[in-house]
């Protein structure tokens, strides 16, 4: 596997037990992602986007097939090894932000650094920097309940990037946001992608996001039906 491959998936099958039977959520998925890509998994609700994203993130395991993420064979990796991979090299962004309600913006963003045992002075520097990136310096001591949806998602982005991961997985990050906030967030991520070479995979069916993507992988009923490269995205040119 070449150094530039961030994700490599072959013949992936994912089935969920339903009653005494199986529901096939993903089948015959073959997918590769290069470094610094800005790619979206796009498809209607129930098409398997979240399932695929979770498998790439090592939160779920495939039923069949091989998957290599950032150099780790996830199929044979233990829970703890996958946790380690997420902790050190991945960032997650969720539709409903998933901030810890009792923590301030600073503390939420600091969390991945604490998990990575970064020492406190360095933590402070990195958190301040990440919060600046998303333009929330004036809200650094607020708690999630005091923030708007857009501000929450920006906090979540800061948390996802603070340890400078190689891959960020974002599941419907704009689904709870209005157009203005959605664009603001997408612009932040485009900038991150360009300046830090961070790879992004989105799961979305939001047209606004699609306008920024440079590659769109279309999913339908758990299968990739189309994989297109967008040479000149409508939005996000810097």
């Amino acid at each position: 596997m070449s150094n530039n491959k961030v994700v490599e998936i072959q013949k992936l099958l994912k089935q969920f037990p339903v009653g005494g039977d199986f529901f096939t959520a993903l089948s015959d998925i073959n997918f590769e992602l290069e470094k610094a890509e800005f790619t979206g998994l796009v498809g209607p609700s129930g098409s398997g986007k979240t399932t695929l994203l979770n498998i790439i993130g090592g939160l779920d395991s495939p039923t069949k097939g091989t998957i290599n993420v950032l150099g780790m064979e996830l199929g044979s990796a233990s829970h703890n090894e996958r946790a380690f991979l997420r902790k050190t090299k991945m960032g997650f962004i969720f539709q409903s932000y998933n901030l810890l309600p009792v923590y301030t913006v600073f503390e939420n963003v600091e969390l991945p650094l604490i998990l990575n045992k970064v020492e406190s002075k360095e933590r402070k520097r990195l958190v301040t920097q990440a919060v600046e990136w998303v333009g929330l310096s004036d809200k650094i001591d607020s708690r999630p309940a005091q923030l708007s949806g857009g501000e929450c998602q920006r906090t979540a982005i800061a948390r996802a990037i603070v340890h400078e991961p190689a891959l960020i997985l974002a599941d419907e990050p704009t689904a709870n946001l209005d157009a203005k906030n959605s664009h603001q967030i997408m612009n932040i991520m485009v900038r991150l992608n360009k300046e830090l070479n961070t790879s992004f995979i989105f799961a979305t069916h939001d047209e606004k996001i699609m306008a920024y993507l440079r590659r769109i992988v279309h999913l339908e009923d758990g299968q990739i039906v189309k994989d297109e490269i967008i040479e000149n995205p409508e939005m996000g040119a810097i």
Binding site: N54, L59, D60, H79, A83, P101, P112, I114, N116
Partner: protein, 390 residues
């Protein structure tokens, strides 16, 4: 690191944490309070028994068995010389025990008739009152429990019938000269106290005694002949046995309180895991291993208990100190139930009680925090993230 996060989570949860802590603190308080009260009862009962009955110990006539009333007939004799010297120097006093029947208000009641030296000051009984002049009536001192049971008042007269040394029945009239308030039912229920010389005459047992109680500071005797030396431990052993017999009750109480405290902790822990399952999923997505999440939640539960302990000491401490100094007024008179209980109970809080309670509860709390947290280890991160729990 987990410690740091656990503190942040607890402090961050604000009022919810403090409510939990408060509830646990109340349980702690109750456990320590009841244990202290119980220890207080026990030490009080012991102290009262020594004060009103046992003093420094006793010499028994070899035939004397307080539990066998038929032994009283033969259990009397003139005390050996050295014991007699103790009595002479006011370091001991004689008691002559016999069976008798009294007829208060026409009813018959078997009693233990005890002749006691009225001038003794070794045990705390108002025996001086037996010196009251009564025109040949036998002066009788009884306890308030006995007075209530027989409905006798000071000045009431009644017949007393006894078996003398020659095994012939004799009877005479007695008069209540005093009724004493005592917490020791053993010197009260079923007992009448009369002057020693009077008893000796009535029973035709001049100079004789059944046992001799000596003071705490009296010297030990070289030659006690065949009389039996009974030390304080021996004389307290039925008292100790009673306390022992009572122990399961205290332990059940303790277990109930602990179970209540435990249920609270267990419940809030389950609730917390249910409420925070999305947070658990997020922590896993951020790369925390399941075992660390389990440890985090267990730690939070444990620290909850630690805060509770501090709160108990801060809020409950003054209460403990107040009760330890001034006692707790008791609403019921337990002596009627045959228990030695003060009207004001002074609880005893020992360092040992605090330490053992704390250690034990800390252990229980950790287990109770750990058990529910274990289900986190079985959670799938994807389910947790979706807010599902299985």
């Amino acid at each position: 690191m987990l410690f740091h996060l656990a503190i942040k989570n607890l402090i961050g949860a604000g009022i919810r944490t403090w409510l939990n802590v408060f509830v646990t603190a109340v349980s702690f308080f109750m456990i320590i309070f009841t244990s202290g009260m119980y220890d207080g009862m026990r030490s009080h009962a012991k102290q009262v028994t020594i004060d009103t009955e046992v003093a420094g110990g006793a010499y028994w006539h070899p035939k004397y068995d307080p539990l066998d009333p038929f032994s009283y007939e033969d259990a009397h004799g003139i005390p050996p010389k050295e014991i007699h010297e103790l009595i002479q120097s006011n370091d001991a006093f004689s008691v002559l025990v016999s069976q008798a029947s009294i007829y208060p208000n026409g009813r018959m009641m078997p009693v233990m008739m005890k002749g006691i030296e009225p001038n003794q000051s070794i045990i705390n009984l108002p025996t001086q009152s037996l010196l009251t002049h009564t025109d040949d009536l036998i002066p009788v001192l009884i306890g308030s429990g006995m007075a209530k049971y027989t409905q006798l008042k000071v000045g009431d007269t009644f017949a007393i019938r006894w078996l003398d040394a020659n095994r012939t029945y004799d009877a005479d009239e007695g008069v209540i000269v005093a009724i004493m308030e005592t917490e020791n039912f053993k010197v009260d229920m079923g007992t009448i106290w009369i002057p020693l010389d009077r008893a000796q005459t009535m029973l035709d047992m001049e100079k004789e005694a059944t046992y001799i109680t000596f003071s705490k500071k009296s010297a030990t005797i070289q030659n006690k002949e065949n009389w039996i030396y009974r030390d304080v431990n021996y004389l307290m052993r039925d008292m100790e046995a009673m306390i022992k017999a009572d122990e399961p009750g205290a332990q059940i109480m303790y277990m109930i309180l602990l179970a209540l405290a435990g249920m609270g902790i267990f419940n809030s822990q389950i609730l917390s895991i249910f409420r925070r399952r999305k947070e658990i999923g997020t922590l896993m997505a951020l790369g925390m291993t399941r075992s660390r999440v389990v440890t985090l939640f267990t730690l939070e539960g444990g620290m909850n208990a630690f805060f509770a302990l501090i709160m108990t000491l801060i809020l409950g401490g003054p209460v403990f100190i107040y009760f330890a100094l001034y006692g707790i007024p008791l609403p019921i008179d337990y002596s009627e139930m045959g228990l030695i209980v003060a009207k004001r109970l002074i609880p005893v809080y020992t360092m040992g009680l605090f330490v053992s309670t704390t250690l034990f509860i800390a252990f229980v709390v950790l287990v109770l925090s750990y058990l529910p947290s274990r289900r986190i280890a079985k959670m799938k991160p994807t389910d947790a993230l979706r807010g599902k729990i299985n």
